[in-house]
């Protein structure tokens, strides 16, 4: 598979919300990268900052109250955080496109599918004439597997089912051949059989067009079936990063382990589900130490006092946990960690 170029690099990104209760860092100094043509999964539970991360990349963080307070977002080497709104508008759709969870609310109910697709095209391809734009729109609808594409151009969003609407959204996102597609919970609102269709479509398009994808989801099953690499987020921090195989077969961070163990598996019956005690901390409520410390069964002195850095345990596998600090591992409990 050869070395692929990194197309997006997020460095030390912090996005904060300025509220009456103070400044709340919703995404707190995170780093990750996406390579050309790969599917990167970002998993985490509600409030972990995964959606804010994607909005930060797109420059769509509602401001005020939100603001990128530090860090860089390098897309092909250029820092998107330094871009003006006008420059960002060129990036969006052209280089980086996004699809959202709710296909019902991301399409305008008052305009036809054709209208909305053409708008996206004419906005970015100013030199194209109407006929060319129309042909491109129909081609895209066919590409995402929609039947009777010509007629669909004149249909309104309410005439389509949820799965078809999500296909339209994907067509619209891909209309200008972006290099990166950010999909924020694209199948969460869909039924299982429709979800399977959409995920298959996304995998096929990724292969065919070589578009890199960031897939944001809470569903570990979706990640296992679709992604190459995974970033696990918890309370605004990246807690683990690695290939899908390492994350699922050899999870290291106690949170990742707990998360995987708490999913009921359809293939066999577990007597009792593992459950992580307690609940996700309120954003901004923990300023010192590891954010998972209060729910962690391996917690020890250091965890509540220092912020754990990301330790690279094996090539490409990183964990934000003191258990993997060389000092600690050497000290005693390597065995305990593994069990």
């Amino acid at each position: 598979m050869g070395e692929r170029q990194t197309i997006l690099e997020v460095k030390d990104l912090q996005t904060s919300f300025f509220t009456d209760d103070g400044v709340i860092p919703s995404v707190d100094h995170i780093d990750f990268h996406v390579r050309e043509g790969e599917i990167l999964g970002i998993v985490g539970e509600s409030g972990c900052g995964k959606s804010v991360t994607s909005l930060s990349i797109m420059g769509l963080v509602p401001s005020p109250p939100g603001k990128i307070t530090s860090g860089q977002i390098l897309f092909e080497g250029k820092d998107l955080t330094k871009f003006s709104e006008k420059e960002m508008r060129k990036v969006r759709g052209n280089d980086v496109a996004m699809i959202f969870q709710e296909p019902m609310t991301s399409l305008n109910p008052l305009f036809t599918i054709g209208n909305q697709l053409l708008e996206a095209i004419t906005l970015h391809k100013k030199d194209w004439n109407k006929k060319k734009a129309h042909a491109r729109a129909v081609e895209m609808l066919k590409l995402v597997g929609l039947p009777r594409a010509e007629e669909l151009m004149n249909d309104y969003p309410h005439q389509l089912s949820g799965g078809m609407r999500q296909r339209v959204m994907i067509a619209m996102a891909l209309v200008c051949d972006p290099k990166l597609l950010i999909a924020d919970e694209p199948t969460t609102a869909l039924d299982v059989t429709i979800q399977a269709q959409i995920l298959k479509l996304m995998r096929e398009l990724n292969e065919r067009l070589n578009t890199a994808v960031i897939l944001i989801t809470h569903d570990l099953g979706v990640v296992a079936e679709t992604c190459e690499r995974v970033v696990v987020m918890y309370a605004g921090k990246v807690v683990e990063e690695g290939t899908v195989d390492t994350i699922f077969n050899n999870p290291q961070h106690p949170y990742t382990k707990g998360l995987i163990a708490s999913v009921p598996d359809m293939r066999y019956k577990k007597q009792r589900l593992y459950s992580i005690p307690g609940s996700v901390p309120k954003p901004g409520s923990i300023n010192q130490g590891c954010r998972f410390a209060a729910r962690c069964e391996f917690v020890f002195g250091r965890c509540t006092e220092e912020n754990p850095p990301l330790y690279e345990t094996t090539e490409g596998h990183k964990t934000r946990c003191f258990l993997y600090d060389e000092k600690e591992v050497l000290a005693d409990d390597r065995a305990a960690v593994k069990s």
């Binding site: 078809m164 039924d191 059989t193 298959k200 079936e225 707990g258 009792r272 589900l273």
Partner: protein
């Protein structure tokens, strides 16, 4: 064999479609179309299906929160479908419900104590002092503390609210709990807590559950038997072991193969269904699944397949199994 705790026979719910200026009755949405099943005491029956399959409508009809168009529901030897509304209200002491959205199902203006005490007042159980004690006891049972009684719903997280919803359902010491998507609004780690709680309570209080959900993994985990619904009909009903090991109906097969499994090494043949679920206001003739079925035969568009026993305790409504049954 003892009588099942709940028996459902030929249950139907048609919602009339009215159109035109005079609101003429022009058709029906067949939300639930002739389903029958039973639930034994102490077991968990899971009902799965995609949106619009009628699983929630079924749950509501069992409690008569929706009046069935046709059919008979017998609970504990007593028919629920022919008694007056007043009597039904009394019968609900024994059947309680847990809802999906713990945000919408708790009154934001009432304290937890008031919310939990209400079922006791409605059913005239105990005196104020004993009611208060019971509220505090049940808060402890569901993993909260008695000091939470004075708080309001907004002060709790989603998982905690669902615990309160469960506590409310338990206040009247019911025999049967109908849980409609009780964990689907919750995060994975919280979902596991609530599922474990429900299993513990079942053992401790000898509860019977009807667990309605769309997540097949969750349903397998909690259920003894599972019914699969598609467009208002029960297409397959079996023990969860049998259902997941060897699904018979083509829809169940596709459904199970479509569920993403959290294991990157797990390989399987995925059956990806074409198209969408048809509208229940104009369902296909014969077997409602025939428009998407990879094994469609001529008979499928004509005759409605009946739920029949293909293996011991494994029921399926599909013409593919007709022959096998006749031999």
């Amino acid at each position: 064999m003892t009588e099942p705790l709940l028996k459902v026979e030929g249950l139907k719910k048609y919602f009339p479609v009215r159109s035109g200026l005079l609101g003429k009755h022009t058709g029906n949405v067949k939300a639930v179309d002739d389903i029958s099943f039973f639930v034994n005491e102490g077991e968990t029956l899971g009902i799965v299906g995609e949106s619009g399959c009628g699983k929630s409508t079924t749950g509501r009809m069992l409690m008569r929160l929706l009046e069935p168009t046709e059919g008979k529901v017998t609970f504990n030897g007593k028919e629920l479908t022919n008694i007056s509304k007043d009597e039904m209200r009394k019968a609900r002491r024994e059947i309680q419900m847990v809802f999906q959205d713990p945000y919408a199902s708790l009154n934001p203006r009432h304290t937890i104590e008031k919310i939990l005490m209400e079922p006791l007042i409605v059913h005239n159980i105990g005196d104020p002092k004993s009611r208060k004690k019971k509220v505090h006891d049940f808060l402890e049972i569901v993993g909260l503390s008695s000091y939470h009684a004075k708080r309001y719903p907004h002060q709790f997280s989603g998982g905690q609210r669902q615990r309160i919803g469960i506590a409310r359902a338990l206040m009247t010491n019911p025999k049967l709990i109908i849980a409609d998507e009780p964990v689907s609004a919750l995060d994975v780690s919280i979902q596991a807590q609530v599922l474990n709680l429900m299993q513990d309570l079942q053992k401790e209080l000898k509860l019977t559950y009807i667990f309605i959900a769309h997540d097949l993994g969750v349903v397998r985990h909690i259920s003894d038997r599972v019914g699969v619904m598609y467009l208002g009909r029960m297409v397959e009903l079996a023990t969860s072991e049998s259902m997941y090991a060897e699904p018979l109906h083509p829809y169940t097969k596709a459904l199970l193969s479509a569920v993403p499994v959290p294991d990157p090494e797990f390989k399987r043949e995925q059956i990806i269904l074409e198209g969408d679920i048809p509208s229940p206001s104009n369902p296909p003739t014969g077997c409602t699944f025939h428009t998407r079925c990879p094994f469609k035969m001529d008979i499928c568009a004509k005759d409605v397949p009946q739920l029949q026993e293909a293996k011991t305790g494994h029921f399926v409504a599909c013409h593919l199994y007709n022959e096998q049954l006749q031999h």
